[in-house]
Symmetry: C2
Subunit: 432 residues, 2 copies
């Protein structure tokens, strides 16, 4: 009996149609990253368990661990820890600031739900080794440009600063231990609204006045300068908070100077981002219309990348989730501008014409065209059917008459039309 053919649950196979969209996404992101001077890097998917363990808190149980001989190993659950390892391991090879991108799979034993996979691919990019607003702005600029190139419209990169939220907590009188509850409540603003956040804050033990001030702060919308002015006013007595507002303001100015369209980003007090490791700018790209929500996020995290180097290595970065982009692009009907699937199917008319037909196929391939050939001189009807099933738009026929005339029959498999054209016109015709 044949063994059962099944993909491990929570993981996914990609057949050609879906795979082409993935390739297009990765090629586009790579091209934009390269233009901004990011360089490619790759690390193994398997790491020593000691490298990966102890960093995920409650999520440690999601790590895939394995043992080989005496080696305790694990599959990486992101590419950030491996970046930190590399920064610690190659002090002489890496020149800071180090702009690197990396694309590949990571693994988490997530509970299965729609759009969440146990094997997921991320396209990471980070600027490592410098605390700079220009670096912050460049990462945001890459995101805006990459999403535009992929065909997204109506998206915005929301910007905030971790220290602005910390200062907010201080100025309304929240004690340190409650601050993380404030961030968590703020983070849910888009889901539960102003009243929901207020309730959460009251439940966390904040008084009504503090809760009201926080809700008013996070609900503020408007152009970036208006929001920044509100922040400056509210935080005017908190020096660290004011410095953070000026950081945000500098990033906004740099984005403007880089020519990033003003509707591509906005300062958003409600943006908290869950991860506690952010230390400065935080951002999130969202599609508001249609209301699809978050595409990706990131920010400045100055404490993490130096973990193996034994010193602080300031870093700003982001990660594009390939599956998320793929799902949303499919929902929105966004497609690669050029279909790279085969354009032409070269039939084999009979054994005597195989040589001429293969020579024609080679000629078209040399011109860069993706060409499928028949693999046996079966009945033409069968060959046309195979081509059509594969979605190839044109079939070419070289029979003895065509060869004698120096022509080729080009059959449009969608319309059924066919015409005999001079051999040197075939390429132009099928590329139309």
């Amino acid at each position: 009996m044949a063994p059962k053919a099944q993909t491990y649950k929570g993981m996914k196979d990609y057949l050609p149609r879906e795979m082409r969209l993935r390739q297009y996404i990765i090629a586009t992101l790579s091209d934009v990253a390269e233009r901004y001077g990011f360089e490619p890097m790759q690390t193994p998917i398997v790491e020593y368990e000691a490298t990966l363990a102890g960093k995920l808190g409650d999520d440690e149980k999601l790590i895939y661990r394995l043992q080989y001989g005496d080696d305790k190993l694990a599959l990486r659950y992101d590419q950030t820890v491996s970046l930190a390892r590399v920064v610690g391991q190659y002090p002489n090879e890496i020149v800071f600031p180090f702009r690197r991108y990396a694309v590949g799979p990571s693994y988490r034993g997530e509970r299965q739900q729609r759009g969440r996979y146990r094997e997921f691919y991320q396209f990471d990019l980070d600027i490592v080794g410098v605390d700079s607003r220009v670096a912050d702005a460049e990462v945001v600029a890459v995101i805006v440009e990459a999403l535009s190139r992929l065909g997204f419209t109506g998206f915005k990169v929301l910007l905030n600063h971790r220290e602005v939220l910390s200062a907010l907590a201080r100025v309304v009188g929240v004690v340190d231990e409650q601050a993380s509850q404030v961030y968590r409540a703020v983070d849910k603003f888009d889901k539960i609204g102003a009243d929901g956040v207020r309730n959460d804050l009251l439940k966390s033990g904040l008084d009504a006045d503090a809760a009201a001030k926080i809700v008013e702060f996070v609900a503020t919308e408007g152009d970036s300068q208006t929001v920044l002015a509100m922040m400056r006013e509210l935080l005017k007595d908190d020096l660290r908070g004011l410095a953070a507002v000026e950081d945000l303001s500098a990033v906004v100015q740099l984005l403007d100077q880089m020519g990033i369209a003003v509707d591509g980003y906005a300062v958003a007090p409600r943006l908290a981002r869950g991860l506690s490791y952010y230390t400065g700018l935080v951002f999130e790209a969202v599609i508001e219309n249609p209301p699809i929500g978050s595409l990706l996020g990131g920010g400045r995290y100055d404490k993490l990348i130096g973990a193996f180097a034994g010193r602080e290595v300031p870093t700003v970065g982001t990660a594009f989730g390939i599956e998320r982009l793929q799902i949303v692009m499919t929902e929105l009907g966004l497609q690669p501008p050029i279909d790279s699937a085969p354009r032409v199917y070269v039939t084999l008319f009979s054994p005597e014409q195989i040589a001429d037909s293969l020579a024609l196929a080679q000629e078209l391939r040399a011109a860069g065209l993706p060409v499928v050939t028949a693999l046996a001189p079966d009945k033409l009807g069968k060959q046309f059917k195979e081509a059509d099933q594969k979605g190839v738009p044109y079939a070419l026929v070289l029979g003895p008459d065509e060869i004698a005339r120096g022509e080729v029959v080009v059959k449009n498999l969608r319309s059924g039309e066919q015409q005999s054209v001079p051999r040197d016109r075939v390429l132009a015709l099928v590329q139309e």
Copy 2:
């Protein structure tokens, strides 16, 4: 204390310089495969253990196994078993003949030695679902074209047929149980020479006459037609053997008809290929001059891909080992024709010039140029040094005088020369 930064032994990190060569290899192989109508596919690296186990014989112990909850899993050790699973799992989505390529890592706990890694990337391509000489020839043609495009010269794809070797064993009177020992001995011809093979055969219990005939057969060299004639003569009383010779002959004729240069391939009676799963054509690409040896191999294996479908699914295919190509290309000094590393470093002269400098960087990026910007207006000498350390050839300076004149200072960091040029000439200058 910082945790120890170390890559799991037997696996390897790729920093940008090496990674660019890998990207170039994969992009070139993909482009050639697409022209031949192969389509991309991707499967998870983690499979159920039951999918992977029981196929490697003595090498089963090299499999990385893991358990998550109750799920017994393993890391794939090649991409072929996953292809067989896919063929069994998606009978309605896959149209035969199915030409697919796939690139990604596989895992084997190999003993560490030079050029052999526990995480290794393969670029697989297969034509699934048809027993066709045209298919056999196309896979060989892809290999010849891909290696040429990568810059290899002086290579040859050696061709043989599994059934030719079986017939040889029969005609010299070897009993079935000894046949695999004959293949093993033949396979070592390039390493141990004619005398070595003879000794191995005698040790396996063959008589002197049988051993002499085999050695004479495998030592035959010459143009393909001469070798095929020798095969026909020796196997003239073995019908299956003769049919195999005609298969080989047909592949050679098709390669010629496809315009593949005749010095790119050769019929080689000595080629056995270790794996017992081959059923028809076998091939191996070798570089003879300089004597680097095998680059990759493959062949027809009609029994394996149907394992999950529960029926025979004839298949021919090959796998390019990315690390092997990378090592040999580096040894031979083969490089990508275009260096995609950043060409230009845009300095930041002082805080007042940041806006103009970033606008210049954006302009060059929009033209497709990879550009690194300085991230702070440090001393120019420091900025030049950073650019030079990164291997960026040109640095641009926009000071107040240049801005006033509409010019840019272009400094060649290798020669030290610098000149002030009109802004619209910068792109042409740095692309030279």
